[in-house]
């Protein structure tokens, strides 16, 4: 029994599963074999014709595409050593900046207090108001009062 043409075409194109193709090949009649031969001849003819036609018209896609691409400067090639140095410098700089900020803004660190004493009352002989500077040039106000002996105390 002759095999259907679509099956023959699939067999020719190697589109059938291997086991099915094997079974089909065993059942091919002489007519089917002639059809396969004709398909092979037709395919060879078409391939040769297309190749010959393509050879006479050289296709240059790149030149037409390149003209349409946006112009970009060529990438700068950085030697690996310089790249490592730059990256290291960036990290060290970041850490130095962080350390300086940590020093300047450390928790509890007094900043510029600009303290203004509006009232001051003490017992005893008196008190002294002075400015003490920190290491950043900011002043901290200090009230130093002379602590009296207990029997000299009196309430304000």
């Amino acid at each position: 029994m002759a095999v259907a043409d679509d099956k023959l075409q699939s067999l020719f194109d190697n589109e059938l599963p291997s086991d099915e193709a094997e079974v089909l090949r065993r059942d091919l009649s002489d007519e089917d074999l002639l059809k396969l031969a004709a398909l092979a001849e037709l395919s060879e003819t078409v391939r040769g014709t297309v190749s010959a036609e393509a050879a006479t018209h050289e296709l240059d896609l790149w030149s037409s595409l390149a003209d349409k691409l946006p112009q970009q400067p060529s990438a700068q090639v950085i030697p690996l050593r310089r790249k490592i140095v730059r990256r290291t410098t960036a990290i060290v700089s970041a850490l130095a900046l962080a350390a300086s900020l940590l020093f300047a803004l450390r928790p509890g660190s007094p900043g510029d207090s600009n303290c203004e004493i509006e009232e001051l009352e003490v017992v005893g002989t008196g008190a002294t108001v002075m400015k003490v500077a920190d290491d950043r040039g900011n002043d901290t106000t200090l009230i130093w009062f002379d602590h009296q002996e207990e029997d000299e105390w009196e309430s304000l």
């Binding site: 990290i91 700089s93 450390r106 928790p107 106000t141 200090l142 009230i143 130093w144 602590h147």
Partner: protein, 180 residues
């Protein structure tokens, strides 16, 4: 060529990492119930928000040469000329006070004294946040010292002279506003 991921994030990440270190380990002071400011009797009309104050109680003596590491923020002041007679500095206590506007809080001062810190409200000037506070040092019912002062938000005021255990006491008061 764009920056690498490390270059883009190294700075902020390093800052965050370093800032997460070194938070002071302090005991929270006994904070008794809010009470009216000691001398004013009632809150000032512009007293709003809350002041967060750290009160460092420092013992300065002329014996020894140790410097308490927890006092590093105040090292320049304590090592300055005003304290040149003292060589040993120890942090006896650090009180953390949260003081509502117009109220005060007490804190213990060695030698059976009491400190009272009152927050009288904001006193902004010159485009800067400033806080008005009152400090009293009491011996029983007697007031040894009473002062009203204004400092920048986050600023520090120091008080010293109270004799204690062969040395003197130094109070370092740092306040910042909160909740305004």
């Amino acid at each position: 060529m764009g920056k690498s991921v490390i270059e883009q994030w190294a700075s902020p990440m390093a800052v965050l990492a370093l800032f997460s270190l070194g938070q002071p380990q302090v005991s929270r002071a006994q904070t008794e119930a809010q009470r009216p400011a000691p001398s004013e009797g009632k809150a000032a009309t512009d007293a709003t928000g809350t002041a967060m104050c750290s009160v460092r109680v420092i013992h300065a003596t002329a014996t020894g040469t140790e410097f308490d590491a927890r006092l590093e923020p105040l090292r320049p002041q304590l090592k300055g000329q005003a304290f040149q007679s003292f060589t040993n500095f120890a942090l006896l206590k650090q009180h953390e006070l949260s003081i509502a506007g117009g109220a005060s809080q007490r804190f213990d001062v060695p030698g059976e004294h009491q400190g009272v810190l009152a927050y009288e409200g904001r006193a902004d000037a010159g485009g800067k946040h400033r806080l008005r506070l009152r400090l009293e040092i009491q011996d029983g019912k007697a007031k040894l010292l009473s002062t009203k002062f204004v400092i920048n938000d986050g600023g520090t005021m120091m008080q010293a002279g109270l004799k204690y255990d062969k040395g003197v006491l130094v109070l370092g008061i740092t306040c910042r506003s909160a909740g305004q």
